[in-house]
């Protein structure tokens, strides 16, 4: 029914009212002439209904023959609408321009999206495709996705697969990266040495000759498992020694931070906006030039409609200047900064270790804050060392 209403709207139709005479004869004459009438009602002695434009003209004769007085009530549809605005040329030109713009823009690539990359940056992939001619604003029919993907793939060796898909006005580049497999050289002869000084608690040698026992104190660099194994006939062979050696070690960390420190503070000196539509760039003001010691930071914000990126973007250039400023921090801030640095050191040195005891001392005065931390921990001190290497 909606389609019928739409078709009637396109063709245009009129509502009429016919009074007096013989309504039944009027309807029969209309049907005999093939005039389409609909929504026919009969109230207060008059007949009303709707018909198309040509039908209304032909209906006059039927009304005359049936003795009815025909009156036009209302005009509906596109032909009447266009007739009403026929002198407004601007509207027509605007509408034509709108249609032309819509047609032209629908055949172009508005935005380019890269999916599936982690190590290889989006900029690198976009640059490779730009060399093949893919950039916002290019006509879609000028693109050959298969050929472009093949050519771009040659300059991107870290990708195992890539494909360019055109979805409407968006170009989506789907990529898969090469899996980097670390090939452990398990055949290379090596020793296991102590990475730190400590007292051994657990020693498990899987391959090679054991040279240390639990309870033994070792210094840093001491040999725990040798990769040179003696055969029964007295000869020796080289093996890839493997061992698990846990020792009780001592640790000590210290951090000292001055209360005042000088750091470069970033200040936005001037900013400039540029409107980008496809490849057109409309500068909204004068673009600043960076002087000595200044930096130009360019950021772009692309407008979107839902998940779709529009071909409209606002580019912002900010001229950054760096001013060195000396700041003095409060006791609380100083203690927090020192504790944070100590924590970073602790995590880096004792990753995977079990802390047995620890003692922390904080010394805060008007000039600086010093934090020291001492303790003991159980950790794997076995370190592989290539025979003949360092």
């Amino acid at each position: 029914m909606l389609l019928i209403h739409f078709l009637r709207f396109l063709r245009g139709y009129v509502c009429f009212r016919a009074a007096e005479g013989f309504p039944e004869r009027f309807l029969n004459l209309c049907a005999a002439k093939g005039i389409a009438v609909w929504d026919v009602g009969f109230t207060d002695g008059s007949l009303f209904g709707c018909t198309d434009i040509a039908g209304y003209k032909a209906m006059r004769d039927c009304a005359k023959r049936s003795g009815m007085v025909l009156r036009l009530q209302k005009k509906h549809g596109l032909p009447f609408f266009l007739h009403r605005y026929r002198r407004r040329v601007g509207l027509l030109i605007g509408f034509v321009l709108f249609l032309a713009g819509l047609w032209a823009l629908s055949g172009m690539v508005w935005s380019i999206e890269v999916q599936g990359n982690a190590r290889v940056s989006t900029e690198v992939i976009l640059a490779a495709f730009e060399e093949q001619g893919l950039k916002p604003g290019v006509p879609r029919r000028a693109l050959n996705p298969v050929k472009m993907s093949e050519e771009a793939g040659k300059s991107l060796p870290d990708l195992s697969w890539l494909a360019l898909n055109l979805r409407g006005s968006s170009a989506v580049i789907e990529v898969r990266e090469i899996m980097q497999m670390e090939q452990a050289q398990e055949d290379a002869p090596q020793n296991i040495v102590a990475a730190k000084a400590g007292q051994l608690e657990i020693v498990e040698v899987y391959r090679g000759a054991a040279l240390a026992k639990p309870g033994q104190a070792v210094l840093q660099g001491a040999l725990l498992a040798s990769g040179i194994v003696e055969n029964k006939d007295g000869s020796a062979r080289l093996v890839h020694a493997q061992a698990y050696a846990v020792a009780r070690t001592q640790f000590s960390f210290a951090v000292q931070l001055p209360r005042t420190h000088t750091a470069a503070q970033v200040k936005i000196k001037k900013s400039h906006l540029t409107l980008r539509f496809l490849w057109f760039k409309i500068p909204l003001g004068k673009r600043p030039k960076p002087a000595q010691g200044e930096l130009l930071l360019v950021s772009e914000r692309v407008w979107n409609a839902g998940e779709r990126l529009l071909p409209l973007a606002l580019e912002r250039c900010a001229l950054l200047s760096f001013v060195e400023e000396t700041t003095r921090v409060s006791d609380h801030q100083l203690r927090l900064q020192a504790a944070r640095q100590l924590f970073v050191q602790f995590c880096a040195a004792l990753s995977g270790a079990q802390v047995l005891t620890q003692q922390t001392e904080t010394h805060l005065d008007s000039a600086a804050c010093a934090i020291t931390q001492n303790g003991a921990a159980l950790e794997n001190i076995g370190l592989a060392q290539e025979i003949g290497g360092k």
Binding site: L27, G34, W38, D39, V40, T43, G49
Partner: protein
């Protein structure tokens, strides 16, 4: 000149159609009437409107006259021997024309 009466031609055609199991709508003399509850009636093979008001519509179907009675009756469409009637249909009567 010996001509066959029109009624007997129609009857022969009807008998032939029934023998060939043809659907009733295509046979001469039959009209197709479809009711959607008591809200809408679609009548095919309408030869003319005999009476029309918002409470009663009488349609000429050739051999039959059908009367639809009710309230707020309205002809939604009338073209190509088809009438679509809407409103609250209360009664349906048939009579020979």
């Amino acid at each position: 000149m010996n001509t066959k009466p029109r009624g007997s031609v129609r009857q022969t055609a009807r008998q032939l159609g029934e023998a060939l199991d043809l659907p009733g709508e295509v046979l001469p003399g039959f009209s197709h009437l479809e009711l959607l509850g008591n809200r809408q009636a679609i009548v095919d093979g309408v030869k003319g409107v005999i009476a029309y008001s918002d409470s009663c519509v009488r349609l000429n179907l050739g051999e039959l006259v059908v009367s639809l009675e009710g309230a707020a009756l309205c002809i939604r469409s009338y073209q190509m021997e088809q009438v679509i009637l809407s409103g609250v249909i209360a009664a349906l009567h048939f009579a020979n024309s």
